[in-house]
């Protein structure tokens, strides 16, 4: 029985990095996630799993936004006069 426990402890320590390392890097992630998504995690002991989950959700939503904006830009460019679109685009570059 003790050998089984030792075995399981060994397998988890070799496949997981320390909690301290996770928390350190997770705080980096927190810096780029919008605050609203982490509303539940106020304590210092951040739930790494929660942050990872929110990160996945956030990345998925960003991918969807890229898809959506691509479609809308595509329609817009099709209907807009070429020269005025270019002028508007150059204007946005200069902002």
């Amino acid at each position: 029985m003790s050998s089984r426990r030792a075995r399981s402890r060994q397998s988890t320590s070799s496949s997981r990095i320390t909690d301290e390392q996770i928390n350190d890097l997770v705080s980096k992630l927190q810096a780029v996630l919008p605050e609203a998504r982490l509303h539940g995690c106020l304590s210092m002991q951040v739930s790494a799993a929660k942050v990872l989950q929110e990160t996945c959700n956030y990345i998925r939503s960003l991918h969807r936004e890229v898809d959506d904006l691509s479609e809308r830009l595509s329609e817009l460019l099709a209907t807009t006069e070429a020269s005025s679109a270019q002028a508007a685009i150059i204007r946005s570059l200069l902002k």
């Binding site: 496949s15 997981r16 990095i17 390392q21 996770i22 890097l25 997770v26 980096k28 992630l29 810096a31 780029v32 996630l33 739930s47 790494a48 799993a49 929660k50 990872l52 989950q53 990160t55 996945c56 959700n57 956030y58 990345i59 998925r60 960003l62 991918h63 969807r64 936004e65 890229v66 898809d67 904006l69 691509s70 479609e71 809308r72 830009l73 595509s74 329609e75 817009l76 460019l77 099709a78 807009t80 070429a82 679109a85 270019q86 508007a88 685009i89 150059i90 204007r91 946005s92 570059l93 902002k95």
Partner: protein, 149 residues
């Protein structure tokens, strides 16, 4: 005179990396948009939006360059003309927090080059990837706003 080590300068101010990249991102994306608009007057709107989407990820990857694993992986995919796909469905791992290894696996599928990263690298790369993604999204929104006004 004591001088503080500046080896972690970039890490302390991650936005410094991003500033020069923003300009590169914008000019790359806008030039691609010009090309797409000029050469696709007769092509389907689905094809055009696919090209725009591709241009978005390309400008992200080119502006990040080869110093990041995610951008290198994206550049590889783009050059090999492979389909750019990211998993959409939500993770089925709704089980309690012990299993944060599952979440790391989910994350690996969302970040380019993820599968070959260990946990530490994955988190660093993810933070950088998110920064560039949000910048690209904001860029596209700005272009939308200027063209439609």
């Amino acid at each position: 005179m004591e001088s503080k080590s500046s080896t972690t300068g970039n890490r302390d101010n991650p936005n410094r990396n991003l500033h020069g990249s923003k300009t590169m991102m914008a000019s790359h994306f806008l030039r691609a948009l010009f090309r797409i608009q000029q050469t696709s007057t007769s092509s389907s709107s689905a094809g055009r939006s696919r090209r725009i989407r591709r241009a978005a990820y390309a400008s992200m990857a080119y502006s990040a360059g080869t110093r990041r694993a995610w951008s290198r992986a994206l550049l590889r995919k783009l050059r090999s003309r492979a389909r750019l796909r990211f998993p959409r469905r939500l993770s089925r791992a709704a089980t309690p927090q012990r299993r944060d290894m599952d979440q790391a696996q989910v994350l690996r599928k969302l970040v380019p080059g993820g599968p070959s990263m260990d946990d530490c690298k994955l988190l660093e790369e993810t933070a950088d990837y998110i920064r560039f993604l949000t910048t690209q999204v904001r860029l596209m929104q700005t272009v939308m706003d200027s063209v439609s006004s």
